[in-house]
C-alpha cells in the first residue's frame, strides 16, 4: 500500500516537473538567452525611446546580443547604451546602430548594420554611427506640420 502511494507521488512530482520544464523551454525564452562569452560595446543615442535593459540586439533580424545597461552621459547629454555582443560574432568598426520597434506596437530593440571596414569592434569600443528611436509624437507633429503647409500653399479643399 505504501509502495503504491510512493509510485503515485513520484508520478505526480514528475508530472509537475515536466510541466515546469515544458514552460521553461517551450514557453519562455530560456533557450534563446543562454549565450556564452560576450564582449561589451557602447553606443550613444540622442533618444532611446522605450528601449529597456535586457532588450534584444539583432543584426539581419538574428539575435546577436543583449542590452546590458542604459545610462546618461551628462557631458554629451546623450544616452549611453552598453551592449553585450556574442563573442563568436564580429562587426566592422564602422557599423551603425539603430533603435527599432518590433512590430507596430512592439518593444524596442537595437538593430546593428554592418559597415565596410576591415577592423572589427573590440571590447569596450564605441559605435560611432547611431540613429535614435522613432518617437510617435514627433511623427504626428511632423505630419500635421506638413499637412498645414500643404493646406496653406495650395489645395484649399481640406475642411
Amino acid at each position: 500500500m505504501q509502495r503504491h502511494v510512493n509510485l503515485l507521488v513520484g508520478f505526480f512530482v514528475l508530472l509537475g516537473l515536466g510541466a515546469l520544464i515544458f514552460l521553461s523551454l517551450r514557453v519562455s525564452n530560456l533557450t534563446e538567452s543562454s549565450t556564452g562569452p560576450t564582449y561589451a560595446v557602447k553606443a550613444y543615442f540622442d533618444d532611446i525611446g522605450g528601449l529597456k535593459p535586457r532588450a534584444a540586439v539583432r543584426s539581419a533580424g538574428v539575435l546577436v546580443g543583449r542590452v546590458r545597461e542604459i545610462g546618461f552621459d551628462d557631458q554629451r547629454y546623450q544616452a549611453v547604451v552598453t551592449i553585450d555582443l556574442v563573442s563568436s560574432v564580429r562587426f566592422p568598426k564602422d557599423s551603425s546602430a539603430q533603435i527599432l520597434t518590433a512590430g507596430l506596437l512592439g518593444e524596442k530593440y537595437v538593430g546593428l548594420l554592418p559597415g565596410a571596414e576591415a577592423d572589427s569592434l573590440a571590447n569596450n569600443d564605441r559605435i560611432s554611427m547611431t540613429q535614435s528611436a522613432v518617437v510617435l509624437e514627433n511623427i504626428i507633429s511632423q505630419f500635421l506640420y506638413n499637412k498645414s503647409g500643404d493646406a496653406g500653399s495650395g489645395d484649399k479643399g481640406l475642411k
Binding site: L17, S28, E32
Partner: protein, 264 residues
Amino acid sequence: MINAALNQVARLGASSLVFVEALGRLAVLFARLVLRLPAVLRRPGLIGSQIHFLGNHSLAIILVSGLFVGLVLGLQGYYTLRRYGSEEALGLLVALSLLRELGPVVAALLFAGRAGTSLTAEIGLMKAGEQLSALEAMAVDPITRILGPRFVGGLAAMPLLAALFSAVGVMGGWFVAVVLIGVDAGAFWSQMSSGVEFWDDLMNGVIKSIVFGLIVTLVALYMGYECRPTPDGVARATTLTVVAGSLAVLGFDFVLTALMFGSL
C-alpha cells in the same frame, strides 16, 4: 443613542483585537512548524503520503480548470487582439497571463477550496475525537507528527500544481488559437517564447506559487488546530479556511506583483 454608537465602536475594537490575537497565534504556529522542520523532514514517508493526499487528489480539478482557463484566455484574447491586428501575439498574451498571475493565483484558490478544506476538516475532527490529546498523552508531539508533514506536503505540492495549471492552460490557449481559430502556429509559439522571460515571468510565478502554498497550507492547518472541537466548530473552520486563505492569497498577490513587476 450615543450608547448604541459607542457599543458598536467597542465591539469593532474588540473584534479587531480578536483578529490581531488570531494573527499572533498563526505566527506562533508558523514558528513552531519551522522549528520542528528538521524532525519532520526525517519522516519522508509521512510527507510523501501528504503530497499524495494534497497533490495527487487535486490533479483532476487543477488540470480541468487550467484547461478551461486556457481555452477562455485564447478566445477572449483573440477577440481583443484582433481589434489591433495583433492576433499573432495571442500566444504571448496567454502565456504571460498564466505564468505571472492566473497560474499561481487560481491554482492557489482551488487548492484552498479542495485541499485546504480537507486539511482543516481532518485536523478539526482529530481534535474533536481527542486524537490530538491522545498523541500528546503518548508522548508524541502533534505538531511534528500530524501538522508538520501536512505543511511540507502542501508547500511541495502547490508549485507543481501551479506549473501544471499554467502548462495545461497554454495548451488550451494553443488549441483555441491554432486549431480552432487558425492563428499561425509558428507565430503563436515564437512570439510567446521570445516574449516570456525565464526569470522575470516564469520564476516569479513559481516564487508566487510557493508563497501561496505556504499561506494556504498554514491557514488550513491553523483553522483545524484552533477550531472548537464540535461539529459546527469544524464546519465554521472549513469555511474560514476558504475565505481567509483566498483573501490572503489575493492580498499577497498584489504585494508580490508590485514588488516583482513594478520595476519592469
